[in-house]
């Protein structure tokens, strides 16, 4: 058993050959530094800060970061269900690190067993992350967490970190894809209703006037006086002097319900538009977007408890490959495998002809942010548009493929690298213009790379080298 070494300046804690990154509110935050440590310890005194750091880590698309074990120092923040779901343990002082060291070791060992395959769509990427996270933590159950800070009332924190508050409902679509793929089985848990306008579940349900939708109304008994057949709201019968009811038509005092009068119904009166009515409409006002939904127009969403299947477990270790929602079928592209095979043949050909051929890569640098903002159908739309513009600048013999949803690869055969470079620059200009026109409120960052194929090296190696250019 070694002694604890704390480097306060660097925020590093060391114990028995394992080092930990210590993150606290009064220190500059650099999540990437966590990659070099066994775990991240977060100062859990303030919940806001803890939530923010946990979210930053788990929402990363780098397996070195998002799978990192997280320990909360000081239990306050750990009581938050969101933080608890996303962290791996709690300690009350650095002295307790040794108690959890073996557990952290175990997680890191299991992470080493996982194969990481780049998925194409955002949904597939999130599912890959989820599988890896569950596998590394030896978990098989994924249960919904009721939460007031969730826009859908029930949330799955590990999925929710990928979306803005307003886009949180997308996690249900992701889970449905995973279920359809057979990675999970599901069990009904509950149903929530979502605003038809913005898919929020923060709704205020109340009875409203059927004419003007106002909730400013009051309810009266209707009174029928038998002797004279007068019928009216009870306010017609009351007076300011005493509690007795007197008939406005025949002035008699009402004495005994069922004998000389009864109350055949009730009536509601709207103080806003002054109509009276018997049946309220029930409306749900969305606390997110203020839309007033008639309840029958709300979209129901079933909430399930999920359990990892054998197939899911297998996919966690071997990588989760395709989903029907993937992008392979986008017109004008070939499958990634086909692209690699064709590159191999091309290298064979230039070896004999001494020709010049190139591969070009286009990377959407901030794809995670972009795709989570625009949703999955718009994502596909965007990629389709990008491919169409690229296709327009190419000869028909050139091929396009997706390596992932953020990286497009293009083959440009039998032209000098200089020309390929120029074409690539032209394409980038067109693409950037297209993106700027489509997204006014945020910037889509593009990066490109051109490589002349070298017939001394394998196709796979050369593609990997190019992909490395894009790793930040």
């Amino acid at each position: 058993m070694g002694s604890i070494k704390i480097n306060n300046e660097k925020g590093i804690v060391e114990l028995s050959g394992m080092s930990y990154l210590y993150v606290s509110p009064n220190r500059p935050l650099n999540i990437d530094r966590g990659t070099n440590h066994a775990a991240v310890i977060i100062d859990g005194k303030t919940l806001e800060f803890t939530r923010m750091v946990v979210k930053r880590i788990r929402s990363s698309f780098h397996s070195d970061i998002y799978l990192k074990p997280i320990i909360i120092l000081n239990g306050n923040a750990h009581r938050d269900p969101f933080v608890r779901e996303l962290s791996d343990g709690v300690i009350y002082s650095f002295n307790q690190i040794e108690l959890i060291q073996s557990q952290i070791h175990l997680i890191n060992e299991r992470i080493k067993e996982i194969t990481f395959i780049n998925s194409l769509s955002l949904e597939a990427q999130i599912i890959t992350k989820l599988l890896a996270f569950l596998y590394s933590r030896e978990k098989r159950d994924l249960d919904p967490i009721p939460s007031v800070i969730s826009n859908t009332n029930y949330t799955f924190p590990f999925l929710a970190v990928h979306y803005d508050f307003k886009e949180e409902h997308n996690i249900f679509d992701v889970l449905e894809i995973a279920r359809q793929e057979g990675l999970f089985i599901s069990d009904f848990h509950d149903r929530v209703y979502l605003c038809s306008n913005c898919k929020s579940s923060h709704l205020s349900v109340r009875e409203v006037c059927p004419k003007c939708n106002s909730s400013n109304n009051e309810t009266f008994d209707i009174v029928h006086h038998f002797p004279c057949a007068y019928v009216g709201p009870i306010t017609d019968f009351t007076n300011e002097l005493d509690d007795h009811l007197n008939c406005p038509k025949c002035s008699k005092r009402l004495r005994h319900i069922g004998v000389d009068y009864d109350k055949p119904s009730v009536l509601h009166h709207c103080k806003n538009c002054l109509t009276s009515f018997q049946d309220y409409f029930v409306n749900a006002r969305c606390m997110s977007c203020s839309h007033d939904n008639p309840v029958e127009t709300l979209s129901p969403a079933d909430i399930f408890r999920y359990k990892l299947t054998k197939k899911g477990e297998y996919a966690a270790i071997n990588g989760f490959v395709s989903t029907p929602k993937d992008i392979e079928e986008i017109i004008g592209t070939v499958k990634y495998d086909t692209f690699k095979t064709m590159c191999k043949y091309e290298i064979e050909r230039i070896r004999q002809t001494e020709g010049n051929s190139n591969i070009v890569g286009v990377n959407i640098v901030n794809s995670g942010t972009v795709f989570s903002k625009i949703g999955s159908s718009a994502q596909k739309e965007l990629l389709r548009d990008l491919v169409a513009s690229i296709r327009a600048s190419l000869r028909s013999s050139d091929m396009i493929t997706f390596h992932s949803s953020s990286i497009i690869l293009i083959s440009m055969n039998e032209i000098p690298e200089r020309i390929a470079d120029r074409i690539a620059k032209d394409i980038m200009k067109i693409l950037q213009q297209l993106l700027d026109n489509n997204f006014k409120d945020f910037e889509v960052e593009l990066k490109s790379s051109v490589r002349k194929l070298n017939y001394h090296l394998s196709a796979e190696l050369q593609i990997d080298q190019m992909l490395n250019d894009f790793v930040v």
């Binding site: 057949a229 007068y230 019928v231 009216g232 038509k249 119904s265 009276s276 049946d279």
Partner: protein, 434 residues
């Protein structure tokens, strides 16, 4: 052959005086009151229409200019099945500024669902459901309480209307400011369904419709049909709506008259209703109606006969005419009948036969003559073969029913037991003499 010879000699040897002596009932009541007076009144009415044509045109112009909101109220129990058709026919009306209020008086069928659906889809403006039945008057009062229009039209759910019926029934309010209520012209829609409905159709043509034109002209019109009647809201509020009774028809017009309002009949405001299709059902309906004469005229509103502050001559005449030509006439007929048995027992067969011809002939003459004063003349030929039966219909069927009704009501106050009103309300009405 000798019977026919006898009959012919019975007729030919009869002098004028003897004719009057034997057929006094026919001459004084049928001929005088229902033919001569009617024709004179109709002609005078026609003349008045001609003379006031300009005033009527002006009234119509003013009505169309002002377009007052008219509240159509439809109280009823288990009438849901008629609502859709009714509402559609109301949407066809030439008069557009209407609100439709349906009151469901404790229906036990699908009426609540149908009503709510119509309201939700904007076909009616308000649907009020009373879970406990309170009777027709209370249902009408429920609707009244929530109307917004300056004129209220009371409808039965199983009626349908000529496309200008609403405009026609509210027009009299614009012709004369003092008009407080207007009755619509109800006719039988299902006149081909059975003999009972055919005979009713003829009755509605002549006695009811023409009778009302006449009484309206004479200022003694009193029965506003519950199926189709219009009221000035202000007047209806003054009398605070409908009271319990054996029908809504006769009472409210009396109360209006007492307040000094005029009550008119709008012949051009045509409404079609389904008459009871068997004589048994018809008898039940008429028993209820006829009891209301006793209950309303003789009991509840007997004060019109007493000269006091609210006394009005036309009310006095209206009531007197009503009582004489119904109650007294009914009694007189039996007197006539015994007069004949007593004094002419040997010629009774001839007398009945002659009466039969006399009545049929006048019925026929009336039917043809009155056609000139009717808004609808199509299909009149259809009824001609049925004319002889009218003697039996009027002379025996309706008379016997009326006799029973009068006896039941006069001596036993049976109308308070009528299930048409819930017992809980009738008990109070009886106690209060309403």
């Amino acid at each position: 052959m000798s019977a026919l010879d006898d009959f012919i000699s019975f007729l030919t040897t009869m002098g004028f005086e003897r004719f009057i002596r034997i057929f006094w009932f026919f001459v004084f009541f049928e001929l005088l009151r229902y033919l001569i007076v009617d024709i004179v009144a109709l002609l005078s009415n026609q003349l008045k229409l001609l003379l006031t044509r300009r005033k009527r045109t002006e009234a119509l112009y003013r009505l169309r200019l002002e377009q007052p909101l008219v509240s159509l109220i439809i109280p009823g129990k288990n009438e849901g099945k008629h609502l859709y058709k009714l509402v559609m026919s109301l949407r066809e009306q030439t008069y557009k500024n209407i609100e439709i209020i349906v009151v469901d008086d404790g229906s036990t069928d699908d009426t609540p669902i149908i009503g709510k659906d119509l309201q939700k889809n904007g076909f009616i403006d308000k649907f009020i459901r009373n879970n406990i039945r309170g009777g027709k008057a209370s249902a009408a009062n429920t609707a009244l309480r929530f109307t917004k229009g300056s004129i209220i039209v009371h409808l039965d759910a199983d009626c349908s209307f000529d496309h200008d019926a609403i405009e026609q029934i509210i027009l009299p309010f614009y012709i004369d400011d003092r008009v407080g209520a207007v009755g619509g012209n109800v006719m039988i829609r299902n006149y081909k369904e059975s003999l009972a409905t055919t005979l009713q159709a003829i009755e509605y043509f002549d006695t009811i419709s023409i009778g009302r034109v006449v009484s309206s002209h004479l200022g003694i019109y009193r029965i506003i049909s519950g199926a189709f009647g219009a009221f000035k809201t202000e007047a209806l509020q003054k009398i605070q709506g409908w009271d319990i009774g054996p029908g809504l028809d006769g009472d409210i017009s009396v109360k209006m008259r007492k307040l000094g309002y005029k009550v008119k009949f709008a012949q051009e405001a045509v409404c079609l209703t389904s008459g009871p299709n068997t004589f048994k059902k018809l008898a039940k309906q008429r028993l209820r109606w006829d009891k209301s004469l006793i209950r309303f005229r003789i009991r509840k509103h007997r004060d019109v006969f007493i000269p006091n502050q609210g006394f009005s001559l036309s009310n006095f005449f209206s009531f007197s005419e009503n009582i004489i030509y119904n109650l007294v006439l009914n009694v007189k007929w039996y007197i006539y009948f015994f007069d004949m048995i007593n004094n002419y027992p040997s010629q009774l067969g001839y007398i009945i036969l002659t009466n039969f011809f006399l009545y049929t002939t006048t019925n026929f003459i009336k039917f043809v003559l009155f056609s000139l004063f009717r808004p609808r003349r199509e299909s009149l030929v259809y009824f001609i073969p049925y004319m002889p039966l009218m003697v039996i219909y009027f002379g025996y069927f309706l008379r016997i029913v009326r006799t029973i009704a009068y006896i039941q009501e006069l001596f036993f106050k049976m109308s308070y037991k009528d299930p048409w009103n819930p017992q809980k309300t009738s008990a109070h009405a009886k106690e209060l003499g309403l």
